[in-house]
Symmetry: C2
């Protein structure tokens, strides 16, 4: 067996922590985790984990925990750099700037366990000699308080290569399959290789480009939204918004990427959350917490790809515009823009 | 001069109170005001008014204040019944049910100082022998605390008859002109007669069907929304949402009512709020306060009229769907629907 892979994990919230735990359980990896808000508590007491896959764990720490992105050592480069942060390209720092010190050109494989489209592009551009892998996670995990993780939905991870035309294709595929191997050896999770990265990502966008922003804008979870839609009302919110927006995404996937998402996926995605759990998609949770929302990769890229391919997407476009305004407001409350100053500049013109 | 008109005013918030005050200042009317949340404080201390039209007033009360809608007296019927409440037909009680006891058939003229389309229809149906007038107010007035009124924008009121084909046309026009007369005698306000009720209402919908729900959904006031739109961004929120939605309303007005709203109105309505006042439209304020929103008459009726006339209105339709979901949530927090019970019914099916 090869030496253990050295892995850097950036973003140790719910999904990131479970990812790190599972990798170390498998025995083929040592994980250095970059922690931010939970650094102190994890340094002192470790993580407290309640996991449907792994059980109850007290006081667990990855092999190493650090506060900031480490610089890659020439002798001990990171084999994999896994990003499980949110991906919000409109708010600095970008993922590229964040991980740059840890990347060894031509060696480190970057694994983006993040949603949305075109997220590999800035990485291919910044690190043209490095492989980039797509990770689409269907796990449900939250950090309830700093260092306290609840995983209440099985870890299913779909890995594939974001193929760069400038690098050896088979080597990119091999690295994706190696990652699946080291992720699967714990025996507790469901990690699969899927070469059709675009299909996997567009399929998840049926949910993420629609439910996420709609729940964020209305502050209804997916169960309440369905309950608010009286089946006898021909102008129910589901019929006005969710179903036709999902059809817009299907049409965009077909026109932009030749991805065939079957029509039956619409009802499957409408009903995919068990109605008794009142699931709040992450974007709704972020808006409630007045955090930045991942609307560019989840909504904006789908819209731009679809419209570039000639697809009319009026509902997704409207939702995108509303999200853009919401994000601006969060920029203001975060001190990134100053409404008073901008107003005075406008008046002065 | 005729005897003073007996007027019943329903809805003594900011606009209602200033309406009552101005009518009594004119000397041609005695006003009975129906108060709800501010009844006790007004009964005890009167209204405190800070008005750009009338100055500072302490301890003012209309001729009579009551807690509930009075029954019309056969000997002293109300000449006018003015409604300045919000008009929310999807939430009981309806305006018709509310004012029914006070209406003397064939005598009381109903004045709806409310926004939106088709608001006269249930009144014409319920009171076929009574005239109904359209009042569109451009006043800015708020109730800062119970009984404390700030009017910071001039009272401009446009009156016209909601003509009923079953009643004498000239008599309906005369009653509208009589109301303009008694409203104008204070000399402090700008009250005009305009026979073209549909033009006046659709023009105001350019603002109300667009800015109101968009600000409510994003929680940006109109100034911030404009500041969030970088003029160099071709996909700015103004260009994605506000301008094209206003064009949808223009198209609907033309197709549904043959109302010509000039194209220049779009920029005028985009910029009509002085940017330094950071104006929050009423629907934004209502959502912040978790109150019901007037989305059916402001957005829904414009959408239904436009679509019935064959106009595609995808942005307004999307906004309408989002508002419908928001209203459902307010119904839940108000105890009108029970999500848990509904969920169990759905599961049981």
């Amino acid at each position: 067996m090869a030496e253990k892979r050295r892995i850097l994990l950036v973003g140790a919230g719910g999904i990131g922590t479970m990812t790190a735990f599972n990798l170390e359980q498998g025995g083929l990896a040592t994980v250095t985790a970059v922690l931010r808000s939970n650094y102190d508590v994890v340094k002192e007491k470790g993580f407290t984990i309640d996991s449907c896959d792994h059980g109850q764990i007290q006081g667990w720490r990855p092999t190493e925990v650090v506060k900031t992105i480490p610089h890659a050592s020439p002798d001990h480069p990171y084999d994999y750099v896994i990003c499980t942060t949110k991906n919000i390209p409109d708010i600095p720092p970008t993922i590229v700037d964040l991980i740059r010190p840890a990347i060894t050109p031509g060696h480190s494989v970057i694994v983006l366990i993040q949603n949305g489209l075109n997220i590999e592009k800035p990485l291919h551009q910044a690190f043209p000699q490095n492989f980039v892998l797509s990770g689409v996670s269907l796990m449900g995990a939250d950090e309830l308080s700093p260092g306290e993780i609840l995983q209440n939905d099985k870890d299913r991870l779909i890995i594939g290569p974001f193929l760069s035309p400038n690098l050896d294709t088979q080597a990119q595929i091999d690295s994706a399959q190696d990652f699946v191997h080291i992720y699967s050896t714990s025996g507790k999770v469901d990690c699969t290789y899927d070469a059709d990265v675009l299909f996997v990502r567009w399929r998840k966008l049926m949910y993420n480009a629609v439910w996420n922003p709609i729940c964020a804008l209305t502050d209804l979870d997916t169960s309440r939204f369905r309950l608010a839609s009286d089946p006898s009302d021909p102008a129910s919110p589901l019929d006005l918004l969710v179903r036709p927006a999902m059809h817009e995404i299907r049409a965009a996937a077909k026109a932009a990427a030749n991805v065939d998402l079957p029509e039956s996926l619409v009802e499957a995605m409408v009903e995919c959350d068990p109605i008794e759990i009142f699931c709040s998609p992450s974007m709704q949770q972020d808006r409630r917490k007045k955090r930045f929302i991942e609307y560019e990769n989840l909504v904006g890229e789908a819209l731009r790809e679809g419209e570039k391919a000639g697809v009319g997407m009026p509902i997704v476009r409207t939702i995108y515009g509303l999200c853009k305004a919401v994000q601006w407001r969060t920029k203001e409350t975060s001190g990134l823009v100053d409404a008073q100053k901008l107003m005075e500049q406008r008046k002065g013109r």
